[in-house]
Symmetry: C2
Subunit: 468 residues, 2 copies
C-alpha cells in the first residue's frame, strides 16, 4: 500500500522531493512533547513515517494533497517539530509533509508594513530579514528559533510581547491554504473586511486538520523607537495580578508583563528575590514619549498597590535567556516527569485556579516542584503558565504520573471556569478536554467542519477533535 | 402552508410571542437599504412576512429554529433593521425572528471589564448602561441608536473609534449562538485561547446565514481619562493618507482619524474649509499623559508633511452630528438615487482606487456628487467611504443607475486590489462580487459551511453567498 502511494507521489512531483532515507524519516516522526520524548526513551517511540515529502511550492502541496485524498493516505504537515502538545506522531502509513522546505521570503513591503513568507520559513529567519529593514512582526514566541510561521498560525501561537502587539491572530493579515479538496484559498490582502465570516479563522489553530497553510502575510511594525524596563515586587500572586489588572485596565499596554510566583522568583531571579515575594517584570516599548509616560504611570500604580520597585536586572536577565528552551531528556532519564501547561482565565478566576492547581499538583507522589508565572495580559484576564516536575519511583509509572499532573491542572482550570489552553494548542494531550472548553455543541461543530473540509479524514486526524 | 407552520410555532412557544398584525409585519419586512426604500416608493416593496416571532429567551429561539428546520420554513433574524446592504427582504413565507425582543442586559462586570447582553439590546441602551458605571465597549457605529449588539456581530460592524479600539471582532469576547440544528453554542469566556479554530468567527459576519446570535459578551474599557482633538489640512488626498500612515505606523493610535476629500470638506465644514484642501480630524483618548504625547507627535508629523493645523471646531462639529443618519426617501422621491459604499485597501492602493472610483462615478449620467472620506485606519491600509448622488431623468431608470454606480465602485476597488466591503457587510447588494473578494475557493468554502450548518437552507438564504 505504502509503495503504491509513494509511486503515485513520485509521478505527481519531482521524485527528489520525496525522501525515504532513515535519517530524514527519523527526524520528522514526532513533535517535541514530553510524551513523545519519553516514548522514545522507553523504546516505544513514534515509528518512522512512510515517507517525507518536501514540497517546493504551493503547486507541489496541491499535488500531494490530491494523491493523498484520492488514496485515503494519512497526511501530516510538519514545520520544525517544536510543538509540545503531541500534535505530531507518525504512523508507518503517514505521508509527512515537511513544510520547512518551503522557506522563501516572498515579499517585504515597507510602505504598507506587510510581509509574506512561505509557511516553512523559520521564525527567526523571518524576524532577521525584517530586522534588516528596521521592521518586526511583533510576534516573538519562545520557540522563534525552532518554529515556522506556518506553525505559529496552525497552533494559534502567542509571542512574548503579546500584551501590546497581540497574538498571532492579531498580526496575520492573510493566509494561503491548500484545502483538502485540492483548491487553494488565498485570502484578500485588505486591512479589514466585513465580507462574511473571516475564513482565516478556520485554519488558525486547526493544527493541520483542516488544510495545509502554505503562506502567511503579516501586518508589521517598525522597530520601537524606545525600549525600557520596570520591575516590581508583590507580596502575593493576588497583589501582582491586581497591579497588572490596574495597568492594563487603565489603558496602558506594556508589551511584556510577566509575573513569577514565589517558587519561580527564587529559581529564576536568585540575585533579586526578596523573601517570599513574587516578581513582576515589564518591558515598555514604543514612541519615546509614550514609553516615558507609561513607565511613570506603572510606577504610580505600583506605589498605590504597595508594590516596591525591583531591580531592572530581572528584566534584562530575562531578555537574555528568554528563548532558551530546556530539554526534557535528562530529566526523563532520571525518572522525572515534567511539563509546562498554559491556561487562561478572567481576573476573578485566575487566583483560585492558581491556588487550586498548585495545591492539587503538590498532592502528587514525588512532586518536586509545582510553580507558575503569567506572561500574557488582557483587559479581562490573564494567562498562567504552570511547570510541574515530579520524580517517579517506578519508570513504568512515568506516563500515569504525567497524565495525572495534566488532569489536575485541567480540572482546576475547568472547575475554576478558565480556558484550558492559552497558546500551545490542543494536540493529543488536551484533546479529550475539548468538550469542557467548547461544549458538546462546539465539538459537534468542529466535527462537522472537519467532515465538510476533509471528508476522507486524511489530515492529521488524531489531534484536536475528540473521538466520537 | 403558512397557517400550518404558524400553528406549529404557536404550539412550540407562547402564542403571544407570535405576531401577525399588519403594523408589526409591515415594520419588519426589510432593512434600511436604498433599494428597499425605492421599491417601497415604487409600490413593489418587500411583502409582509408570514409572521413575526418575538422570542423572550434562547429557549424560544431553539424552539423556533427547530420548527422552521423541521418544516423547511424560511427564518430571517432581524435586529432593528438598520442594515444598508439589502440583507433583509421578507417573502410571504418568511418567519421573521425579531431579536429586538431579547433586550436584557445580562451582566456588567467591573472587575473583569466584561458585559453580556442579549443580542437584541439596542446599541445605545448597552452603551448607556455601561456609561452609568464609567464603562464603554469602545464600539460606536453611526447606527448605535438604530442597531442591536447582535446585528453588530452579524454584520462585522466597525465603530467610529476603531483605529484604537478595534472593530467588533476585537471587542467581542464571547457569543451564544443557536445553531440551525437546534444546538446552542456558548463560547468560553476566556481572554484568549489556542483551542482550535475560534468558532465565533463562523458567525461574525454571517448575516443570519449560519446561526442565530442570542447573546454577546464584550471586553470593556473604562471611559478614557482624557479626550482631546486635532485637525489638519492636506492639499491632496494622497498627502492626507501619508499623514495618517505616518501617525499609525509610528505607533500612535488616535481612536478617530477621518479624512474628507475636497467635496466633503466643503460640504461638511463650510466654516473651516480652505481652498481645495482636504480636512483630517482626529480624536485622541486615553490616559492624559499619553493623549498629550500623542497630540504633540501628530502635530510634529503634520508639520513634517506640510499639513497645517485646522480648527478643532471641525472635530467638535463632527462629534455633534456624527450619529445623524440621513434618510433616502426625500431624495428618491425626486428621482435622485444615492448611497454610501465603503471599501478598504492597503496604503499603496487606496489613492488610485479613490481616483478611479470617483472618476468612474462622475461619468454616470446625472451624477450630482461623488465624494469620499476615510474613517478607519490600520498599519497596513485604510478604508474609504464613498457617497454618490445621481439624478435620473426617468424614474424607471432609478434601479439601473443605482446598480451602475455600485458596479463602478466595486470595479475600481477590485481592479485596484482593494477589499469590497469594510464594515457594512455583503447582503444582496455586494453578493455577486464575493468571488472577486474571496475567490472561487472561498465561495466554495462558504457554501460548504452553509450546507454543513444549515442543510435545509432555511436561514436568510439569499444573502452573502452567491448563487451556484
Amino acid at each position: 500500500m505504502n509503495e503504491e502511494i509513494i509511486e503515485k507521489l513520485k509521478q505527481a512531483i519531482d521524485p527528489e522531493k520525496l525522501k525515504t532515507d532513515a535519517a530524514t524519516l527519523q527526524e520528522r516522526r514526532r513533535d517535541y512533547s514530553a510524551p513523545n520524548e519519553l516514548a522514545d526513551l522507553q523504546g516505544r517511540g513514534a515509528p518512522n513515517p512512510a515517507c517525507v515529502v518536501q514540497p517546493e511550492n504551493t503547486r507541489d502541496v496541491v499535488k500531494v494533497v490530491n494523491v493523498c485524498r484520492e488514496n485515503k493516505a494519512l497526511l501530516v504537515p510538519f514545520g520544525l517539530g517544536s510543538g509540545v502538545c503531541t500534535g505530531i506522531v507518525a504512523t508507518p502509513e503517514t505521508i509527512l509533509l515537511d513544510m520547512s522546505s518551503m522557506n522563501r521570503i516572498l515579499s517585504i513591503d515597507k510602505h504598507n508594513l506587510m510581509a509574506t513568507f512561505e509557511a516553512g520559513v523559520r521564525g527567526s529567519d523571518a524576524e532577521n530579514a525584517l530586522a534588516k529593514e528596521g521592521l518586526t512582526t511583533g510576534h516573538y514566541p519562545q520557540s522563534i528559533d525552532l518554529s515556522t510561521v506556518g506553525g505559529w498560525v496552525s497552533t494559534r501561537a502567542s509571542g512574548q510581547f503579546s500584551s501590546a502587539y497581540g497574538n498571532i491572530e492579531d498580526v496575520v493579515m492573510g493566509l494561503e491554504v491548500v484545502l483538502p479538496n485540492g483548491e487553494v484559498l488565498e485570502t484578500r490582502l485588505t486591512p479589514r473586511a466585513a465580507a462574511g465570516p473571516d475564513l482565516k479563522h478556520i485554519f488558525m489553530g486547526s493544527e493541520g486538520t483542516m488544510g495545509i497553510i502554505t503562506a502567511v502575510t503579516f501586518s508589521l511594525r517598525w522597530k520601537a523607537e524606545k525600549q525600557n524596563y520596570t520591575a516590581f515586587y508583590a507580596a502575593t500572586m493576588e497583589q501582582g495580578f491586581e497591579l497588572q489588572r490596574y495597568i492594563i485596565q487603565s489603558g496602558w499596554m506594556p508589551p511584556v508583563m510577566r509575573q513569577y510566583d514565589t517558587t519561580e522568583t527564587k529559581g529564576k531571579f536568585e540575585d533579586c528575590a526578596r523573601g517570599e515575594d513574587c516578581i513582576i517584570i515589564m518591558v515598555h516599548e514604543g514612541p519615546a514619549a509614550r514609553v516615558d509616560a507609561e513607565i511613570k504611570a506603572c510606577q504610580t500604580l505600583a506605589k498605590e498597590l504597595n508594590c516596591d520597585q525591583a531591580p531592572v536586572k530581572t528584566v534584562t536577565d530575562w531578555l537574555e535567556v528568554r528563548n532558551h528552551v530546556g530539554g526534557f531528556t535528562e530529566f526523563l532519564k532520571r525518572n522525572i516527569t515534567l511539563d509546562t501547561i498554559e491556561i487562561a482565565a478572567t481576573w476573578d478566576r485566575i487566583g483560585p485556579i492558581y491556588n487550586n492547581a498548585i495545591a492539587s499538583l503538590m498532592e502528587v507522589d514525588g512532586m518536586l516542584s509545582a510553580a507558575a508565572h503569567s506572561s500574557h495580559c488582557y483587559r479581562s484576564g490573564i494567562n498562567l503558565y504552570f511547570t510541574f516536575v515530579a520524580q517517579v519511583d517506578d519508570p513504568s509509572k512515568m506516563d500515569a504520573t504525567y497524565e495525572d499532573c495534566w488532569r489536575r491542572v485541567m480540572q482546576a482550570t475547568i472547575e475554576g471556569g478558565g480556558g484550558i489552553a492559552h497558546h500551545h494548542g490542543i494536540g493529543r494531550v488536551r484533546r479529550d478536554y475539548m468538550s469542557a472548553e467548547i461544549g458538546a455543541s462546539g465539538v459537534n461543530l468542529l466535527r462537522s467542519l472537519k467532515k465538510t473540509l476533509d471528508p476522507a479524514n486524511i489530515l492529521n486526524p488524531e489531534v484536536l477533535i475528540p473521538h466520537e
